[in-house]
């Protein structure tokens, strides 16, 4: 369920680091808690994001939630398909429904994030 090569935050985001690029999304647990997702607000390409700050928001039928940046960096790409098909976040949050890609400015931050095993323990305890 939770890919081993991702790293996770307590706010239920994930990041996949490949070279100096981080692909960022929300976790399956997050989409399940939110329910039917109807809007996704993402930053612009070129924006500088800081770890722990809001990168945008995800809105479901019942609520709007901030998405926090798991790592600092510059936005290099956004997943434009989410504007037309926000509901794909409910079906493929770890795959096709990634949110943004960033060029990492502080690669050391990654070491402080949770592993898949840690994250599963964390959400197990939260329930």
């Amino acid at each position: 369920m939770y890919p081993e090569n991702f790293r996770y935050t307590k706010e239920h985001e994930w990041v996949l680091v490949e070279g100096d690029t981080g692909t960022i999304g929300i976790t399956d647990h997050a989409q399940e808690e939110l329910g039917d997702i109807v809007y996704v607000d993402l930053p612009k390409v070129g924006a500088h994001l800081e770890q722990g700050k809001s990168l945008g928001s995800v809105e479901s039928v019942k609520a709007v939630s901030d998405v926090y940046c798991p790592v600092s960096g510059e936005v290099t790409e956004i997943n434009a398909s989410l504007a037309q098909a926000p509901e794909s976040l409910n079906t493929d949050p770890h795959g096709a429904a990634w949110l943004i890609k960033v060029r990492l400015s502080k690669p050391d931050e990654v070491a402080g994030l949770m592993t898949a095993a840690d994250y599963q323990t964390y959400i197990g305890a939260e329930k």
Binding site: G35, D36, Y39, E59, S60, V61, K62, V64, N90
Partner: protein
């Protein structure tokens, strides 16, 4: 699961939109056992019920139900309730879970008559069967002829051999029934209702769908459209206020409000710009704060983002462009007629 007035309540089972559409098109089952119940009995029961509520309880026939308000003397809501007339000397009130203790204390404090007021919430579980196939589903489990129960009437009968109060009411804008049953039997009845509705595609429904359904039907939710600071006249609920029926708690305040003219009123809107105007968001007109959103959500039936808001009476015309402040950005919306959804009869 969320904590709701001390109850663990599911917001959703299979998903709000799917549950919502199932109620509109087929049938959904809600566990609403959290709702409170209060009984008023004795020779003066009708008099007390009429003194503490806004609608005209003495006009109810035995077996009939109406929607009503419990008000403070200043005219704001203690709660909104359903009043069932069981007998000339016996009324049964269905009240909001989180308000029940306050309601009970309020009614007792006004009981200068000698009626017997009892909080009986723990004697009743409540299941709501809602949707066009609700009657067909429930009919399989009761000898009571459900087609013979008119809208906003009830019958005391049996459901699957268990004594039940079967009320033709609901909080979804769809046809359906709400049944009051002994708590010890509720779990079994839930399972049997799910089995009875299987052929129609019944689904269990949570608080999330209950909210989107009632919003489309423009039914008020305490803490949103109404509360202690809002009167029924402001909430567009003048139809439950019977000023001529005789004295009742809040009547003088409502009279004065009517004479002086209302300052604000509840009105529906649809989003024009991208976004959802949610509960508590400010409403601006021509760049100035004018009111606030009481409820807002995507409407699964209409495929639009809808909501209700309070606006100054002078600015509450249908078709007016307003701005909802969504995360500090003004987003256009337009005021519209309500209810947003009305079922075909």
């Amino acid at each position: 699961m969320v904590d709701f007035g001390g109850w663990d309540m599911p917001v959703q089972y299979s998903g709000i939109i799917e549950e919502h559409n199932t109620v509109r098109k087929a049938v959904g089952l809600f566990d609403v056992s959290h709702m409170g119940e209060i009984e008023i009995r004795g020779p003066q029961a009708a008099q007390l019920t009429d003194f503490v509520t806004t609608n005209h309880a003495a006009k109810l026939k035995i077996g009939q139900i109406h929607y009503s308000g419990l008000l403070y003397s200043h005219g704001g809501f203690v709660d909104d309730i359903l009043v069932h007339k069981i007998a000339d000397d016996h009324f049964f009130l269905c009240v909001n879970a989180s308000n029940q203790d306050k309601d009970f204390a309020h009614i007792c404090s006004q009981n200068r008559l000698d009626a017997e007021v009892t909080l009986v919430s723990d004697q009743h579980a409540q299941l709501a069967i809602q949707g066009p196939q609700a009657r067909a589903t429930l009919q399989k489990m009761t000898p009571v002829d459900l087609a013979g129960i008119k809208y906003y009437w009830f019958t005391d009968g049996a459901v699957s051999g268990v004594p039940a109060r079967i009320a033709h009411t609901g909080y979804t804008g769809e046809d359906g029934f709400e049944i009051y049953v002994p708590p010890a039997e509720a779990h079994r009845l839930w399972n049997e209702l799910m089995a009875a509705g299987a052929e129609f595609g019944i689904k269990p429904c949570g608080l999330g769908a209950r909210n989107t359904l009632r919003l489309e039907a423009k039914m008020a939710l305490y803490g949103h459209e109404i509360d202690a600071s809002i009167s029924p006249l402001e909430a567009d609920l003048g139809w439950i206020v019977k000023l001529e029926k005789g004295d009742f708690v809040g009547r003088d305040a409502l009279r004065k409000q009517k004479e002086a003219g209302l300052q604000r009123t509840l009105i529906g809107f649809e989003m024009v710009g991208r976004g959802i105007g949610r509960d508590g968001y400010e409403v601006h007109i021509d760049g100035s704060p004018a009111g606030w959103v009481t409820s807002g959500s995507p409407s699964p039936t209409l495929g639009k983002n809808i909501g209700l808001c309070y606006l100054p009476v002078g600015q509450a015309q249908i078709g007016k462009t307003i701005q909802i402040m969504i995360r500090n950005q003004p987003v256009d919306a337009i005021t519209v007629e309500t209810p947003f959804y009305k079922r075909a009869k």
